[in-house]
Every structure is written in structure tokens, then in C-alpha cells.
Amino acid sequence: MAKTSTTAGHGAHGDGAHAEHAAHAHISRGTYYKVFAALMVLMALTVGAWWIEGIIALPRLLGVAIAMAIAIAKTTLIILYFMHVKVSERATQLYAGAAFVGFAIMVIITMADYFARGWPPPPGPLP
């Protein structure tokens, strides 16, 4: 064995994250209730914002931005607490993020084409 190797100190079965989570970090019931309360508040906010937009004129983009910001906040809460990502191991956290990165790549690149192309094109029905 020419290449000397270090002793197999870590890397045993997985990412060596065992010790870190051996106690299984745990989310208490109280936290769940708090998160749920926050979700309900956000829910009220998003419907409320929509109702207000029906009365006073807001720029359309702002309305969409508010609704999406609230939806993202809700999602973050659910993912972090209800789905335990906050206390999960690193690989799980990585994949939880990867989905949104993948989606963002798809949207950003595709929409960049639509912006640059001048969408919509004439919606022409054909004979």
C-alpha cells in the first residue's frame, strides 16, 4: 500500500453525523402550536390583503408579491418545523433546498427567454 491512508476515523455508515443527532433533536408540542398559530395569522393576512386589494388599487405586481411572500413564509414554517428540517441532518436539509433551487433555475431561465422574446406573441387563432 503505497498511498498511506488515515485510519478509518469517520465516514462509517453515512456522513458521520450520528453523534450530532444521537439524542434526536426534538421539536416540542408547544412549538407546533406556536407555528400553527403563526400559520393562521399568515392565512388571515393573505386573505385580508386580497380583500384590501379589491377596495383600493394596488399595483398588480405588489399584490402578487405580497401573496407569494406570505405563501413562502408559510412554506418555510411548515418545512422547518412540521417537517423537522430544522433538526434534520445536513443531507436532508440540502435536498429540501435543492428542490427549490431546481425550480428557480427552471423559472428564471425560461422567463428570461419570455421577457427577451416579447411575450405574449399575438394570440392568433387560425382558420
Binding site: H13, H18, H21, R29, Y32, Y95, A99, V107
Partner: protein, 275 residues
């Protein structure tokens, strides 16, 4: 290369039992901890694919909403927002009950676990019933009835022709949605009063409803799958398989349920709350 030195544990599964919970530990895992983490990671990787699956629909949604903002605003007024809001709350509550079910399983409280799973099933069913009613409304309108009940009983007819189910019979009604949003009336309300109803094929209004039916339909399919999973979980919990050392099925099934919730959290503002 690797110096292979025999470790303590020989291959066959039944000899693995270095911990008390030998039965549910599959032969190819070394420890329950490893098995649970693997299952969680695997589920998350699968959820990534689910998010990308809906991602395709969201992509289409963004493209067309950006192209036809007025159409979107008008079309969305014909969805039943109160019912959509109720459904959102129903799903959020079910997410809480699932989280509490996992908590109960962790703590070994079988009774609370079963209660929480039961409530989740109930809420999931409620969601589907409400969704079904919403769909029913749209189909009833196509048949000329005012609501799904009238459709079956042959009761009240719809005064104005309307069919919001995409297809050959699609009729988008003249936008009286104008009174709903006063300022919007200036631009597209005037438009609506002069043009003939956007009849049948050839209007981007159909795109909205097509996306609505496909997105919520696919979501409903996931709900049915989720309900099946929760039913199975309830069954195995009832059988007493779930213990504080082995509750991976509840944890993993719960992840799936939360994902369904997350998808709806986006579907709701995107389809029901549009101006």
C-alpha cells in the same frame, strides 16, 4: 485496496439484533438510527421530484399569468374564494394534526397518535368533499343548473349561460366582475361591455381554467394518495407496530402529507386570490 477486516456482525438478518427492536430493522441496515435517517432522506429526495412535478405546472402558470394578467383577474373572480379559504384552513389544521401525530408516536402515546391520525383522515376527507363541491358547481353550470344540488334534482336554472370547464362548450360570461373591482373596470370593464362574450374556443380564459383544473386535480390525486397512506398508518398504529424506537412510517408518511399542504399553500393564492 481496502483492507477488509471482519467486523463484529455477520450477514444474516436475524443475527443483527444488537438492539431490542430487531424485527423492524431491515437486514441491510446497521442501526435503527441509520434506517430512520435513510428513510427520511429518501422521502425528501422523492419530495424533490414531487415539487418539480408541480413545478412544471407552476411554470406554465407564471408564463400565462404574465401574458394575460387581465384575463387572470377576471377569470379568478368566478372561483369560489370562501370555499378555497376554508379548504386552506382545513389543510393547515391537518398539517398540525400530522405533526402532533409524529410527536405522539415519538412519545409512545398510542392513543393520541390514533386520535391525531383519525382527525387527519377526517380533515383530508373534508377537503376532498369541499373540492368536489367546487368542481360540481362548475360542471353544474355547464349543464345549465345553478348549483350541484339543483343539477341532480333538476332545480334552479342558471340565468346566464356560463361554462367554465375548458372544452368545446366553454363559455366565459360577460364580465360583470367589473363591479367587484372598481378601478379595474376602467380598463377591462369597458372592454367587456362592448365585446361579445368570449365564447368557446379561442380565448385565453380557458388557459386559466385548464390550469386550475389540472393543478387542483393533480393535487386532489395526491390527496387521495395521502389519505390512503394515512389510513395504512392508522392501521399499523392500531396494530401497535409503532413504538418510540420505531416510528419511521409515521414520520415519512407525515412528510408526504405536509408536502401536499405546501402545494396547496401556493395553489390557493395563485388561483383564488388574483386581482
Amino acid at each position: 485496496m481496502a483492507t477488509t477486516t471482519p467486523t463484529a456482525k455477520p450477514a444474516p438478518a436475524h443475527e443483527h439484533g444488537h438492539e431490542v427492536h430487531g424485527r423492524e430493522l431491515m437486514h441491510h441496515f446497521e442501526s435503527a438510527q441509520q434506517q430512520k435517517e435513510t428513510a427520511t432522506l429518501g422521502m425528501w429526495v422523492f419530495l424533490v421530484t414531487e415539487i418539480m412535478l408541480f413545478g412544471g405546472i407552476f411554470m406554465a402558470y407564471i408564463v400565462y399569468r404574465w401574458a394575460f394578467p387581465d384575463v387572470w383577474a377576471e377569470a379568478a373572480h368566478h372561483l369560489n374564494t370562501p370555499l378555497g379559504a376554508v379548504n386552506t384552513v382545513v389543510l393547515l389544521v391537518s398539517s398540525l394534526t400530522v405533526a402532533l401525530a409524529v410527536n405522539a408516536a415519538e412519545e409512545g402515546n398510542r392513543r393520541r397518535l390514533l386520535t391525531m391520525l383519525g382527525i387527519t383522515l377526517l380533515l383530508g376527507a373534508t377537503f376532498l368533499v369541499i373540492k368536489g363541491f367546487e368542481y360540481g358547481e362548475k360542471f353544474a353550470h355547464c349543464a345549465g343548473a345553478a348549483n350541484p344540488v339543483a343539477w341532480v334534482t333538476g332545480g334552479a336554472r342558471l340565468e346566464e349561460k356560463e361554462c367554465l370547464v375548458p372544452g368545446r362548450n366553454f363559455i366565459f360570461p360577460e364580465a360583470h366582475g367589473a363591479e367587484g373591482s372598481k378601478d379595474a373596470a376602467a380598463s377591462h370593464g369597458a372592454a367587456a361591455s362592448h365585446t361579445q362574450p368570449q365564447a368557446g374556443l379561442g380565448s385565453p380564459y380557458q388557459l386559466f381554467y385548464f390550469l386550475y383544473f389540472v393543478a387542483t386535480g393533480l393535487h386532489a390525486v395526491h390527496m387521495v394518495v395521502g389519505l390512503t397512506i394515512v389510513s395504512v398508518l392508522t392501521f399499523i398504529a392500531w396494530r401497535g407496530v409503532i413504538t418510540p424506537t420505531y416510528y419511521t412510517p409515521i414520520e415519512v408518511g407525515g412528510l408526504y402529507w405536509h408536502l401536499i399542504d405546501i402545494i396547496w399553500v401556493f395553489l390557493f393564492p395563485l388561483f383564488y386570490l388574483v386581482h
